[in-house]
Amino acid sequence: MDSMPPDAFESHPPSPYAGQIPGVINADLESLNGAVVSTSPFVKVDDPPKFELESYIANYIGRTKFNRLFLIGSCSTYLSVEALKAAIVEAKSSKDVSRYERAVRALAEVAPYEAEAMLDKEWVDRTRKVVKAETDRLEHELRGYKNNLIKESIRMGNEDLGQHYHQIGDLLSASKAYSRMRDYCTTPSHIASMLFKIIHVAIERGDWLSVQSHVQRLRNLQSKQEDQAKNQPKMSAALGLSQLHSGAYQEAANSFLSTDPSLGDSYNEVLTSNDVAVYGGLCALASMDRNELQRRVLDNSSFRNFLELEPHIRRAISFFCNSKFRPCLEILESYQNDYLLDVHLQRHVSTLYTRIRTKSIQQYVVPFSRVTLDSMSKVFASRASSGQAQPIDSKSPFVQELIGLIQDGTLEARIDLEKMVLVSNQADLRTDVQTAVLESLSSYVKEAHIRLLRTNIIRAGLEVRQLSDERKQSHTGSGAKHPRPPTGMLQ
């Protein structure tokens, strides 16, 4: 027990994931794990998504299946009953009681009269007993192994215990048990498998910092070439996921883009190849410029394999590269509901979409010195308002959006409401430089003056001091003065 490696799990306190985008992202997975039970869903999606629930969920295995079902059930009004029922079935097939209880409670809120909305008390009690017995047995066995001091047995005992904790949903203990394996790992492949297990648990817990650090450790592991090649796709995918959650979209895009297509369905307990395509594609769209997109996404032969699974992402990116922003944005809009029901993407959809939209507007303006607001709104204004050719004025939402973009400095342009055009600002570098030079001159001179005064104030002993100090000083000062004749003409 005492042999816990210092850099193991404990070094990353689980609750405040410092360095991540505001607390909301952490809430989703935490709430799924039962830590925060009463969190209301982040979004409500009313329209039916494009996917078929059954075929979608069939792609996943393991605990993520329940998490995804539960998220869909709590967020989509259209699919809630179906998804929650499936979630209950899923939960009942496992040993995690709290998950089952949560799913039942959620279903009872949506559809109280369904047969599944009643808690199966008998199952709950039975499972609890089984779980307790199993935990005791495993811990007992582990103790036995420890007494015998056989490394391999201790490792396996810890592994079994971790697996068991993971299955019953005690992620904290699972993570601890797995990290205890470390000292008893003898071969690199053992270490690799241990790290993967920790990463898996950390992903479920939403502890993205720990995911990143463990992926890093995995990368530094000295192992055989073929092992490395085998691990690479999973590593990149996990790293990408953690970067996506920390809001580093550019890095996330890079990680997903470098994921090897051999990932296939080998990582289905976390994410599928389709997910890699979607996450990678969206992150790339949001963070790269047109050249980069063309070169690194569309012409990337390995990522093409992923893109083929999600052809609409591929189409959106190629539309963007060809400056056809309207169709690109339309595709994204039509799939928005799907992405809002994705366990990892949900919190980031709106940010990613805003970024893509802002970037499109920026890209659209680049070639023009002035462009009519009319033609811009044809591309960017939402369908509903442009259904009938509405006259553009200062109050139309699109113009308001432009004003916002200009004011926060994203768009280097000004609006001419008389001629209804957007005029790009011509930067006058010469004047800019001159102003900058003058400014630095005056600020330098001012600071030099202040510093000089400061020096001289201290030299003359005129610092601000406390009253008692001052009295003391003036006392000694006058005392010293007395023998001196009064100043004046005498000098």
Partner: protein, 502 residues
Amino acid sequence: MAEYLSQLTSVSPCLHTSTPSDEEDYDKHIRDLITYLQQPNRPSELSSVSGYLLDNLDPYLHSLSYLSVLHFKIQSVQGDNKTRLSKQVCPGGELWIKAVRLLRGFDPFQIRYAGHEWRQLIELVIQAAQAVSKPLLAVSVVRDAMLRLDPSSEVLTSVHTAFMRLTLIARSYSLALPILERHICHFPTLTGQAYQKYHQPTLCGEHESSMTFLTDGSGFSKKLTYRDHLQFFLYGAMIYMALRKWDRALHYLSIVISCPVTNTVSKIMVEGYKKWVLVSLLGRGMLVSHPHLASSHVIRAYKALAKPYTLLADAFEKCDFQRIEVEVNAARSIWHADNNIGLVQQVMCAFSKRMTLRLGMTFSALTLADVAQQASHRPTSLNEVESLVASLVMSGALNAVMLHSHNDDDKTTMVRFCSTVELRCFQEHDTREQIVQDSQLLDVVGRSILYANRGLELSNENFLFLQKSMRWSDNPEKGSARALDELASGIDIEEDIMGDTH
């Protein structure tokens, strides 16, 4: 009487083309005169014939005698009465005229020997002008006297602070500018430096810096405390505020708030900080970052003591007029108590001005109705907005034109902002002016830094000397007595260097 006169006129202004030996001669003359004036029965003798003497002495040629006779006379007139001024001293009185005559026309070189009396005279003039509630009468007299004594006005004296106060009371702000535009860089210090024991420059000589005669012991200034210099800079800032020169005011306030402290903060500094917040909103349209010379605990103290101000600044920066209004109303008593209500009101006005200026960054043309909607915080009539924009354009703050449309049915007015490129030709003149101003300041500061370096023994000559003496002490075979000799000769070397510069 004539005998006195001949004694008193024994010293006349030296011609200042003189060699050092002449200067020493002159110095001796003056000191003889002073000893003569200092004789114990002299005050009563001289004041009895003061009328005749003052009429016959020339205030420029015999400044020293004139000053002392006047001084004796005033003393005899005032007697022991410290609080009430006699009529003769008050403006219009006989002695007032004599005093003004002297202050306007004294010889700055002679006066250096009588700093104490000079300062008393100035204080008397200030006091007298205030006593008859005509402070304006004293302002220009005192200012001219100060500049006459020390044309560079680099050294702060208690007279400076008193003068700033007088200007504020007289509300004659622009009269103080000649003093404020010369930059205070020094404070009278004790002349306790090693080389000065060996090389004491004569008081009457031409000096590069007024530091040489405005010293701690010269009597030109009362003993300064930190309050005096803080007050001077705060008053200076207030004068600039009254003249709406926000940039200069901000600089002066920065000096106040970044004043060095020992474990405590002066209330004057806190006042300065409050004004600094408001002025930075008025001048820059945002809260500028703190001068980083101010230490963090001082800033923390400011923030705690000036909460309403920082809240107001926050609301201003967020462009939230409702909040500004709420903050202003909530802390109305505080503004009153701090006497900052005028500035706060100006901040309110500056807000709509700033919003209009911001529009120029976003739009190149828009209707007046849009201006009203975007920039102003409450429903205002178009005419009001139009006059606001027009006044901004006329004052030069906003580079824009307004266009009335010709159609009778469509009475919209367009405001068209000029693009930044077109501005360049207008800027040239301003730029030149700014460069000239800054180079002046740079000059003054550069020179003063040189002096400060000498004073702090950080000049190159000092380092060379230190290097040398270290080499000597490293040499073991030389005895300690020998090393001391060398040290003394080292001082000689330094003395020569200093002598060159004087």
